[in-house]
């Protein structure tokens, strides 16, 4: 018996050293319905050779890219697409620290530019493939009874944002700055005083609001499409931002042709229609 407890203690010591990273609590699985799309194949090779494509994509792209990936696999037998979704800043750091990947899709230009400067991505190869906007989300039952943007400044509200290093967190600060000018009376400071947590990617913000733990969060319009049960307040176009998402193949991609084929597919009419189905806006 004693031995068992000592063993358990040893296991505990081990576990304490290897904490798992945070979970994203909930992710809605249901997709907006749409007709199946037809995808061009890269080559009509008879016996499909197993090929692996790794795509690092911004967390906000989770649902849309998972669907794109399945369609791309279906159109290219033998190809397996593997995704790593996280905040663009996390992905950028991982690539800088030597992560092997083929394609990087960022939610802002900053992370992409940093990788271009570091020669991880060839200069001038990144292409903007979609745009996105921000809105305010509330839990399905809207416990704080928010009806207008001005309500975000109500004292005692629990607001969750992404950290300023996360693209959506930075965009949210830009929007708050614009609203501050429009709403006046220290609007931005009042909203920031209501912030109870700065999350590491946009899906964690969505999760905290979905769980009803936060009264409001500022996320992408596309996130509200992926979580249709949430209530939303739109940000007027003049106060909103246009988030441009760039996409590029990595310099050291192990399968540059497949990487280019995937990028071409994302930019194709079919790829764009999937993205728009998930609430993203086309490049203007």
């Amino acid at each position: 018996m004693k031995r068992f407890w000592i063993l358990l203690l040893a296991v505990a010591l081990l576990l304490s050293a290897c904490d798992a990273p945070a979970l994203t609590a909930a992710r809605p699985a249901e997709a907006p319905t749409s007709a199946p799309t037809i995808i061009p194949t890269i080559a009509p090779a008879a016996p499909p050779e197993p090929q692996m494509l790794t795509v690092y994509a911004a967390a906000s792209l989770t649902n849309a890219f998972e669907e794109l990936g399945k369609a791309f696999e279906a159109a290219n037998p033998g190809v397996t697409v593997e995704f790593n979704f996280a905040g663009s800043q996390t992905l950028r750091t991982q690539i800088e620290q030597g992560a092997q990947t083929d394609v990087f899709a960022s939610a802002n230009a900053k992370e992409m530019d940093t990788l271009v400067t570091g020669k991880f991505i060839p200069a001038d190869s990144a292409k903007i493939f979609l745009t996105n906007q921000l809105l305010v989300i509330m839990p399905a039952d809207n416990p704080a009874g928010l009806t207008a943007l001005a309500d975000l400044a109500k004292p005692g509200l629990k607001v969750v944002l992404a950290a300023k290093e996360v693209p959506v967190g930075n965009y949210a600060l830009q929007v708050l700055n614009k609203l501050d000018a429009a709403q006046g009376t220290g609007f931005k400071d009042k909203v920031l005083a209501n912030v109870v947590s700065y999350e590491n990617d946009v899906k964690q913000v969505v999760a905290k609001v979905q769980l009803g733990e936060a009264d409001a969060g500022i996320v992408y319009s596309s996130d509200a499409v992926a979580a249709p049960e949430l209530q939303t307040i739109d940000v007027p176009a003049e106060n909103n931002i246009v988030a441009q998402y760039p996409l590029a193949a990595l310099t050291n991609s192990r399968n540059p042709e497949l990487a280019q084929a995937f990028i071409a597919y994302v930019l194709s009419a079919e790829g764009q229609s999937v993205l728009q189905k998930w609430g993203f806006l086309p490049v203007k």
Partner: protein
């Protein structure tokens, strides 16, 4: 501390001395060693080297990167100091709660027989092997605003998520079992005959506990405190889910390291080094305690 008692194997010079019956966790090897036998030594050294390298190199790299003139600039940055302060305060409060509630619990588990004991043990030790993220999710589902008991808490005007209290609860959830485990082993190692002897001498239950059990299991209790405290200090998964991340309020050192490595790798490295040093000191203390143990 000695009691007169005859007919006991530990009876020496007319007194029964207690110190040699304390159960303990061995960190240092005081077992007899043999001389290495040349020919097949490599069969042990070569495979073993893999883990030594795996465990050693990352820590070495941390220290190499941290060893610059800027160390204190980063260590004294606002983010680092806020995280350091918050971590210290929350983990110490968590350990205090653990000791106050866990010591009696460990005693009950070591000495009392009652129906449901096995189930209680399982419940208490489960967090030891549970992934911290599961612990965080469970805490959120239980005590979150929309959680199972959230409405009940709200009726007292309490809302736990995103508060420093949530940090302390998350730390206690994952670290208390370590203390209870160690304390239980300590209590169980005290010879029951001693308790009987003390009882015969007219000691009350409380005197027995405070004058016999606690001093005799002192080392096990201190080991438990160290284990629980370092575990609380390193808590990450449960905290980020249940308490969120806000500098000065819920951003403890592990969160600052995880969330900070994209923003400022240097602050993350410096905080990591601080945590490694604290862990080293704690392990050192545990080893010393073990060595000072009379055979």
């Amino acid at each position: 501390m000695c009691f007169p008692q005859k007919g006991n194997p530990f009876y020496k010079n007319g007194a029964f001395c207690l110190s040699n019956k304390v159960m303990r966790l061995r960190l240092s090897s005081t077992h007899p060693m043999v001389k290495t036998n040349g020919r097949f030594a490599w069969l042990f050294v070569v495979p073993g080297l893999f883990l030594v390298i795996l465990l050693g190199l990352p820590l070495l790299a941390l220290f190499l990167r941290a060893a610059s003139g800027e160390f204190f600039t980063y260590a004294l940055s606002d983010t680092a100091l806020a995280a350091l302060k918050l971590s210290l305060i929350t983990s110490l409060i968590s350990v205090m709660i653990t000791v106050l509630s866990g010591t009696p619990l460990a005693y009950i588990l070591a000495r009392w027989n009652f129906p449901g004991r096995a189930a209680l043990e399982l419940l208490i030790y489960l967090p030891v092997v549970l992934p911290p993220s599961v612990a965080g999710l469970a805490l959120l589902i239980a005590f979150g605003r929309q959680g199972v008991f959230g409405g009940w808490l709200a009726s007292f005007g309490l809302s736990l998520p995103f508060t420093t209290t949530a940090v302390i609860l998350a730390q206690t959830f994952v670290s208390a079992p370590l203390y209870i485990l160690s304390a239980r082993i300590g209590f169980a190692g005290v010879d029951p005959q001693l308790e009987e002897a003390a009882h015969v001498e007219g000691a009350s239950q409380w005197q027995l506990f405070s004058k016999v059990m606690i001093p005799l299991s002192g080392r096990a209790l201190i080991t438990g405190v160290i284990l629980a405290w370092t575990r609380a200090l390193g808590e990450f998964g449960a905290t980020i889910l249940f308490a969120g991340n806000l500098e000065g309020k819920t951003q403890t050192m592990p969160l600052a390291i995880y969330l900070g490595f994209e923003r400022n790798l240097n602050v993350a490295i410096v905080l990591s080094v601080v945590l490694v040093l604290v862990s080293l000191v704690m392990l050192g203390i545990m080893r010393k305690l073990d060595e000072s143990q009379p055979e």
